[in-house]
Symmetry: C2
Subunit: 397 residues, 2 copies
């Protein structure tokens, strides 16, 4: 159980692994769920609260922070950790997903202020990178592999992601193949930049793209594995159904170095987390728990409803039950579904906050159970129990 | 220092008094600032957090809760205390201010969803009460003295306020006089209803109106004092300038029974709180600390800026200072002005929450200092110190 690199694997269950990822700002217990702090905050929460919930790492968004307040401002304020008051590890995405989404159109909710003119935001895409208009002030901006790495260096994240193009589901095989090739060339440029300029200890993960095409995914997996990147991130469209998603993730991990961390981007449904862990994923980031919360939906142990409870439904208006009787979060400890229904329906910020606390408590409990069960050799039973509607909350000792 | 009624006055400093108001759900240390929980939540905070900040009482809004979720729903869910998870005292306003504001137009921000058709919302005003259209669903609703009392009974507040018309500053003397007379007739109806139907221990305060007219204020003060109401609330337009406001409050308190609590409605600026206390006010409610927070403005010990620090100003963009170095709140303990500036500028909920925590910490510290200084015989010096820019935070022992 020794570790050559930053990842120490403490136990395995089939392909699943549990361990510790050692980073400049501390240790991340894996498998880990990583809440989004896209705009330097896990929305509605203070950094100290995220830590108290049991999370070791958050994800900062290079694209949003590049535009506002700008990497230089954050650097002058001491880097992203200091800026947001979070002293534990941070992973930053590369900005590629958001930049390309402006053209591909799948990130509408993130740039909703000017949804109408989304089409005009990308000015050009070429080998160098992407020229686009800022959603903040309409100014012309540029981001390429070196820009992304430089921003991530200024932010001072523990883990940087290589700049990539995230192709949408409807892309042709031909477009996906050419895009993937460019993503690999960009990975090489990111690795070069990082070797010369990255802050001490900052890891760089390559991203496996290739859409839903088996041969492309296998090729990308091999290229990232061979690149010397510090870890493997699986990105892009993973298909429309869960079965296809798992197939795509499987191809994307083929040949991934066993001793390096593996990150699955943008996946956070309960069954997907369990499936990802079973396939050997060490970390996940996803907007789902926090975004659902802001729309009044709580995570509950109910597989038939995809683990979702829509508190805005009229059925909850006069319910005196908590979201979950065994959940230790403030929403469940002190409040009824009826109250949360009312707050969510009138759009009260208190609802967004309480349900965010609940959803992150639920997800933290789930991941704690995942880790503990791998370490104790009971992962398969734990996973089966959750998939059959078992509660993720640990009975108090 | 005995108490015939629920108010026990423990010490005095001129007209100022410090003591304890004993209510069905607990004790309120006076002089007290009462945060608004208009929609059954102190916006962005959980009830347990409001208690932890040192507040003994919150104010619920009869008008908003009457329309949504409705008094019957709240009653079936156990009353307002149980509904919102706040087990300490609650005062409810009567709804009069909001109902009449729909016509007078001074509550635009509270019904902003349909700002444009505000004029058409009041259908009729007569001796019985007010007929209006709900801002929630456009349905026709009615509120009069008995309706207001019945709603407040169903909410189960510790202190109810009599239904009144709050005349705006531009009202003529003639209109103000006739309105005041009706408010007094409504007070008698509220007292009758309360005597027959109010929940055990619920107090009923009368409201002194009369605009900025000395004779009307004096007359109203006498009528409320003689009415047998459990306390005196000063409402309505208090004038445009602080000097006038203090004059109006003075007239409104003339003849107020010494042993009954006095509440000043809707006033919360630092200098006004100190002036109100000096005139013998026991409790204040106001949107200012929480509303300012949601607009990015923090309360600070700076009389020249009316105790306001607009964090959205560019000057704070790269500041590494906290809002106040000696403030124990999470915003000040963990974060810089630069970070809060950024969060407020992009409209992050986290900013609203952190600054709300700060502003309520500031106000709680101020009121704690007010009470302690009255009890220790140093109120005048304390007040002078604050007015000269002194910090309200107590040095740690």
């Amino acid at each position: 159980m020794t570790a050559a690199g930053p990842l120490e694997i403490g136990a395995r269950a089939g392909s699943a692994r549990a361990g510790v990822l050692r980073l400049p700002h501390g240790e991340v217990r894996t498998p880990a769920f990583i809440p989004l702090a896209s705009t330097a905050t896990v929305k509605t929460l203070d950094a100290s609260e995220v830590e108290a919930l049991g999370y070791d790492m958050v994800l900062g968004n290079t694209f949003h922070l590049f535009l506002q307040p700008g990497a230089d401002v954050i650097a002058r304020l001491g880097g992203l950790h200091e800026f947001m008051g979070w002293r534990r590890p941070i992973i930053t995405d590369s900005g590629g997903f958001q930049v390309f989404s402006m053209g591909h159109g799948s990130v509408a909710d993130e740039i909703k202020r000017r949804r109408g003119d989304r089409e005009s935001r990308i000015l050009s895409i070429d080998e160098e990178g992407v020229r686009f208009r800022s959603y903040v002030d309409g100014s012309e901006r540029f981001m390429g592999p070196e820009t992304s790495m430089e921003v991530q260096a200024k932010l001072g994240s523990d883990v940087a992601l290589a700049f990539d193009e995230c192709t949408p589901f409807h892309s042709t095989r031909d477009y996906t193949a050419r895009s993937m090739e460019r993503t690999h060339r960009w990975l090489d440029r990111c690795l070069s930049w990082s070797a010369a300029h990255a802050p001490e200890g900052q890891l760089l993960f390559g991203i496996v793209q290739g859409g839903v095409y088996e041969d492309l995914r296998r090729e990308a997996a091999g290229r990232v594995a061979a690149s010397g990147a510090d870890g493997v991130a699986v990105g892009g469209s993973l298909g429309q159904e869960k079965a296809q998603m798992r197939e795509v993730v499987g191809w994307s991990l083929e040949g991934a170095p066993d001793d390096k961390p593996r990150h699955l981007l943008g996946i956070g449904d309960v069954d997907d987390l369990l499936a990802g862990v079973a396939m050997g994923i060490d970390a996940f980031d996803c907007a789902t728990p926090t975004r659902l919360a802001r729309h009044g939906t709580a995570l509950v142990a109910d597989p038939d409803q995809r683990w979702r409870l829509d508190l805005q439904k009229s059925a909850h208006a006069e319910s005196r039950d908590p979201i979950a009787a065994d959940c230790p979060c403030p929403a469940c400890r002190d409040h009824t579904r009826g109250y949360l229904h009312y707050l969510a329906r009138i759009g009260e910020l208190t609802a967004a906050r309480l349900i965010t606390l609940h959803n992150l408590t639920f997800t933290a409990a789930l991941m704690h159970g995942v880790r503990e069960s791998i370490l104790s050799g009971t992962f398969e039973a734990y996973s089966r129990g959750i998939l059959e509607g078992g509660s993720p909350y640990q009975p108090h000792a």
